[in-house]
Amino acid sequence: MNQILSDIFLYHPEKPLLFTQLFFWIFYFIVLLVYSIIYRERALRNAFLFVASLFFYWKTSGLFFLILVFSTFSDFYLGQLIHHARRKGWKKFGVFMSVLVNLFLLSYFKYTYLFVNTVNSLFNLDIQVVNHLALWSNHFTGTHFDTSVILLPVGISFYTFQTISYTVDIYRGKVDPVRHILDFGFYVSFFPQLVAGPIVRAARFIPQLYKRYHLTCQEFGYALFLILKGLFKKMFIGDYLAVNFIDRIFANPLDFSGFENLMALYGYSLQVYVDFSGYTDIAIGVALLLGFRLPKNFNAPYKATNVGNFWKRWHISLSSWLRDYLYIPLGGNRKGRIMTDVNLMITMLLGGLWHGASWHFVIWGGLNGLGIVVYKLWKKISPYEKSKHWAVRLWKIFLTFNFITFTRIWFRSESMEKAGQLIHQVRYFFHPSIIPQVLWSYRLVFAVMALGYFLHWVPESWKLALLNWYIRVPIWAKALIAVVMVFIIYQSWSAKLQPFIYFQF
């Protein structure tokens, strides 16, 4: 019994509450159970979802949930200060403190190692990272945290950006502050989007806190469709490709021919999309069933016709956040052509750094920035820019997709060295003669990859037709389809691993 209670209530790092785990769905079922009783009481509903979200975060990140609580308190009261202050200076001070505190938390937990390693390598030093927060906690509260490491709290990149948007929006007068701290805590920590977004703007979400629960039958079908679609994308396609092909090649590019490396890169382009968009599909669906509308985060990004267009379709909540809270405050496009490009590059470089604390993410961001800047120049002289011909559009999509895939080398590789190794293998050890063998031996992997790209590139009208069909079918059929989908996904999850293949070359 103690063991079961420990399993349920204590933090087990090896068992986080992820959408792909059965325990998440048991958790969600219990949340629904309570929710179906209290949903009419708005304050109680919000307080309950706040507590459930904190529990979710506790199960996912352990004591790091205290950081979330701290963030909630500090930004709630800073929001009040900004709103109620009569003098502009106090308002500015409030915003400044909010940005400072959030960026400090983010930098401390995410970028300390990058900073220390960079200083060490630049000045040939041997500075060791010491976790001063853990030291402080051990000293004053008697805890026994390891002071030699700084672990990254799950989702910190998302909720710090979310709270910054809250205080800045109050400062800009776009939103009124939340009236009750429990409501604000709910906004910051709402569990469907806490770990991997979408980044929810205060202006869009906070009004929902004060609305009654409302869900149409169409929305119910839509939410279920999103959940099933997300699970299929994440587990059937993404996880299968990662475990059976992509991860092993990126772990050791030199062990594989150039062709395999190249295929892993194209596979990764798909995997990162289905993983991320699948996760946010589930998040949007799960939130919608609770009556909350989260913003769309992806819009068929590999149908983009240029890099700028890609960023309007990829991780939309982040790119629009960067536009509104970084690019525009930097000056946006208001200070001349050169400064526009400079602002754009700064935004993309910092956007790259947001994705991971390593210089290769900065390179990735920089390449994407360059892609946008070069396209802006090219479209001025391109004779085909305004052409509506299908071949021109196809060419643009092809070019953009390949450029984005190329930049993924620096996004996925564990280090600059590994990125160099991948390029080296493609350049010097391509071995085209083994292509048929590779395709045949990994036929299941390539079939899944082809299915993934096919589903991505089919016309939107087809996808819409499928969605509408699912929404229309009776509820019992919806349940049956859900069961079939879960069964299929389980087969992919439990399938034998693709063995290592021996190629004759």
Binding site: L32, Y39, H424
Partner: protein, 496 residues
Amino acid sequence: MRPFRILIFFAATGVLLLIISLALPEEGISINEDFRISFFSVSDLFQRAEQDTSLRKAEVERLISTSAVTDDPEAEAGYDPLVPPGLFTTPDSLEPAAADPVRPVNTDSLISSVFRLQFAPGQKTLLDPFFRKLDELRAGTIRRTRIIHFGDSQIENDRMTSLIRYRLQQHFGGSGTGLIPAIPLYAGHLAFEQEQSGRWLRYTFFGKRDTSIMHNRYGVMGAFASVPIAGEELPSLHFRFNTERRTGRCNRIRVFLHSCVMDASLILQVNDSIRVTLSSLHDGYNVAELNAGTRVKELSILADFPEGGRIYGISFETDRGLQVDNIAMRGSAGLLFSKLDREQLQAMMEDLSPGLLLLQFGGNVVPYLEDADYYRRAFARELRFIRGLCPGVPVIVIGPSDMSIKQRGRFKTYPNIEPIRDALKTAALESGYAFWDLYEAMGGYNSMPSFVEADPPLASSDYVHFTPRGANLVAEMLYNALMLEYRKYSSENGSF
């Protein structure tokens, strides 16, 4: 739509899934060899991984925390407490002596943690001939010796070998990759870049064999590259060495080849300044050798073989020092040596003149072979064959690593690993050779999932192969085991 209806929907879906789970047999329904329809069982839901001992992962924290290896052995500082002091004097003019690093260390506690080699009773001095060669190398009474590391895909791309090579060469001199195939699929740690002109093809005796090859002269590497017949231009192999790396530095080149007719010739061009034509190669097995006398930065090998021929391997080495070859045979169980042409194999082995052989196999029979005793007998036969090929040369047999099988989404050690490991161990010890138990060294049962989940990962997500860091971690353990024996030899023979 009220939340209660949604709750009922989820409950109904859950019940339907539960019915399927109860209806399907726990072991699933086999569709074919590779695919089995299965579904979670009720016991899966309530069974804790920690309670099921077959799923409990091995503890590898101590292994990881006591090692400082990285992805690249050459990036390490030279530090080796198990090696007798004063050994950092190298006879190799290419490689200046490394400074003897001084760091406080408790050697006794280090020795007690070394995962040791196992010897048959009365065979403790098995490695002495090799250690004698190392001493002679150090004293300058011999110029060269070598270790040949044979293995399956676990050592592919210089994994494990690279660390052993780098550490040993730091003490005993030497550099270069050692033996490589003429058409390498990989360039271990980027030692060189290779380009080729002409239609070179690679044939292997292991893995899938090309049935059009009617002979069994594949050389020591169990593979050869067919030399295209010269047309208007001579077919060529071009190497550009990365001399920043120890493996990329060599001054002696040997090409092990076979010409189908008399009067074939091979042109070796080094750094655009040295051009040597080795003409009148006789029909059959030949070794073309070039002592460049300088560090080779670029090398072109042009083959003028009127009727074609074969290249069994190219060795990039130094005129003095220790060479360590990495010969990875994908898919091989190590049962191929006795099936190769003995005469040709013996001739090449004599030219290579190894002082020590490492044989690392077993992984490829684990998923398939039920009869471990058959493997013991077959492997013992190979060891007898190798003794005949290289009399007096000690052999260390290295067993398979842990490997996981995925069952119902969970990973556990193949049930066959320990019997196969025991078969190899028995074969090695009964043959009078040494054995190193890689499986136990890395943590034994269910250590592979711990290696895969380590941060950074020590093994690939195929739950079979090490990542470079994982390979270096276990190679360091093997190296320490070897150096511990050398330390004992040195103290007993007064050279330490």
